[in-house]
Amino acid sequence: MADDAFTDIDGKALTLDCQSHSSFCREFTVSSPKVSIGKVMVYTCSVWLVAYAVFFFTQNTAVLSSAILITLVGMMLHIHFVKVDHESLLVIGSLGIQVSSSYASGRETTAFIEMSKIKDIVINEAIYMHQIIYYLCVLLKDPSDPNAVSSVVPLFQSSKPRLNCLVKVYKSCQEILSKC
């Protein structure tokens, strides 16, 4: 698919991949750029420099070894729990929506929402840190009252694409949802 240049709310480039498996099954994948080697270097160097400064004054070698440990563990935790490589949304008409995000370490988390529970998919506004952003979310039905919304599942939570990307996903989702 011919993509326009999509970015996230911080201005970093994103790619949106829309795959149409059939007329009522579509998959959207938002991929963020990989961890840049420069960023890793900066973080590692700053931790090590601080550790070396502390070592210089205390003459305690435990500081240096703990610094190595901290960088290693930190990096592992970061790629395992924080850094999301791509998030995908699989919409299958009459069946449901599958939301999955895969982390840089290869770990994947997946959640499935049945169509009977879904009320709609909408674009909403929220205040996030010191910005006001748009986000895409799934509205879940309240089991006791079919017209009420019981809760909201935000989509693309870690990549946070901008409005033009969200509108594209929203429109094709609505095409499928309106059919069933």
């Binding site: 709310i9 911080d10 506004e125 205040i127 910005q131």
Partner: protein, 489 residues
């Protein structure tokens, strides 16, 4: 009465100005503004400023302008909400300090307010109420960002005590480079011009309004065997509740068929309770406690006379509401009250017990002899005096004027601050203005303007709201969107 004539003259003048050239009028009216109303006070908080902002915004939307409101978060109500006709309200998570007013550090509100101004493409920032720190912050930031500003003052201040000296200084600084100021009465204008050392030419008077359809008379709710005096105000010192405490026993002693109906809540309730206890007036003085706005009419129509004992008042909405319900109005002659109603609809007294009692006595005598005009004739006269559409039209003219003005660049702004606000305060705030400007540059570097999504217009020329509500399916989507916000945010 000179003041009333002045009002009439002003009205004529402004209407002449518009009707002066048809081409000119068309050009002016076709101009659309993107307005952001900023105040700490908005619904769910109740009060005069809140309803003023809401009603004015609704009428401006009707005229085709785009209006958004920015206020601070109330409890769990934060984020973005939509009200009737697509009026968008930003409840920004800013820390509340005192009396629903946010803390002001001059800086911390800049990122969020900038975000609102940029994404909504605001052209005019309209701040309300001098008690609201957020309004002053917004004026300051808007100037830094190069936007035109309007400020509406809703209250009167003194000059003598320390707190008013300080607030007046702050107001001087804050209004120093505001393009236009709106006051609700001529008294309030005089007060603001003196307090903030302003050029009177940039201060307009636009009174408040009431919704006349909400306040219709209904004499069938009155008891004919008694005369009822209605008082509806917050029970605080400023509203002259101590005077009321003096009036009640004196009049009740003279007139055995006199009843008092008092709506409102506040720290001075204890004064009225003491009076009631002391003179055994439990059956004749009823304290209703806090009233919701929608219940006010139900109380007003039960009375014959409306009493207002305020000690200071910029523009008294309550007496217009009272008169609109067809009551005889008795009020103190303070602040802007003499300007509000025509002389024959109101009895003005000095703010002391004796004068108020004398005024009430004459009205009671008139009521007994039946020589008062009927409630419906009073309502018919009042209903066209103050309407929100008129307020919106006049505010629109202010926006038109402001939109054409240039915004002072930073160096001239600093010079103006220093020459206008005195060497010490001026220099301090010039320094703050420079910091604010640097902070803005930092934010523009961190989150550039083009990195922010432009918000979808709900109101204004390209407003989506009306088109969507006309289609049924889309309508339910809007409703759902609102529901979703209620749940999450």
């Amino acid at each position: 009465m000179g003041q009333r004539k002045k009002v009439a003259a002003m009205n004529n003048l402004s209407s002449q100005k518009v009707s002066g050239g048809p081409a000119d009028a068309v050009r002016v009216s076709s101009r659309r503004h993107n307005i952001c109303m900023v105040s700490d006070f908005f619904y769910p908080n109740m009060g005069g400023v809140e309803s003023h902002i809401y009603q004015l915004s609704q009428c401006l939307i009707e005229k085709g302008h785009k209006v958004v409101i920015a206020t601070h978060a109330y409890g769990r109500r934060k984020g973005v909400r939509y009200l009737t006709k697509g009026l968008k309200v930003y409840y920004l998570p800013l820390q509340v300090m005192y009396n629903q007013s946010t803390a002001t550090t001059c800086f911390h509100s800049l990122p969020l307010l900038r975000c609102v101004f940029v994404r909504e493409r605001i052209t005019v920032v309209h701040a309300h109420s001098s008690f609201s720190a957020m309004a002053h912050d917004a004026l300051f930031h808007a100037k830094t960002m190069g936007l035109n500003t309007v400020f509406t003052d809703h209250s009167l201040f003194g000059f003598a005590d320390v707190s008013s000296v300080l607030t007046n200084k702050l107001l001087t600084v804050s209004l120093c480079d505001t393009n236009h100021i709106v006051c609700v009465s001529y008294t309030s204008k005089e007060n603001t011009v003196l307090r903030a050392a302003l050029n009177p030419e940039i201060v307009s008077v636009i009174p408040n309004a009431v919704d006349p359809t909400d306040f219709t008379p209904d004499p069938s709710h009155r008891h004919d065997d008694r005369i009822t005096i209605v008082v509806i105000s917050r029970l605080v010192y400023r509203k002259g509740i101590d005077l009321l405490g003096g009036i009640i026993p004196e009049l009740c002693l003279k007139h055995p068929d006199l009843h008092f109906l008092i709506g409102g809540e506040g720290p001075k309730r204890i004064v009225l309770e003491e009076v009631r206890e002391k003179y055994q007036l439990h059956d004749r003085v009823r304290l209703l406690g806090a009233l919701e706005h929608k219940n006010v009419r139900g109380v007003l129509v039960q009375g014959h006379i409306f009493l207002n004992t305020s000690l200071t008042e910029a523009f008294c909405m309550a007496i217009v509401e009272g008169a609109s319900c067809g009551l005889q109005v008795v009020s103190t002659r303070v602040g802007g009250i003499p300007e509000v109603l025509p002389e024959d609809l109101i009895t003005l007294c000095e703010p002391n017990v004796r004068s108020l009692c004398a005024g009430l006595e004459t009205v009671i005598a008139r009521q007994r002899s039946g020589s008062v005009p009927s409630p419906f004739s009073i309502h018919a006269r009042v209903q066209n005096l103050y309407t929100w559409r008129n307020v919106a039209e006049r505010t629109e003219k202010v926006y038109d004027r402001v939109a054409g003005e240039e915004v002072l660049p930073l160096d001239r702004r600093l010079r103006r601050l220093r020459s206008h606000c005195g060497p010490v305060a001026g220099s301090i705030f010039a320094f703050v203005a420079v910091l604010d400007f640097l902070f803005l540059l930092l934010l523009q570097w961190l989150v550039p303007d083009r990195g922010m999504d432009i918000a979808v217009d709900t109101t204004g020329p390209q407003g989506q709201w009306r088109q969507e509500t006309s289609k049924h399916g889309a309508h339910s989507k809007c409703a759902m969107k609102r529901e979703a916000e209620t749940k999450t945010l």
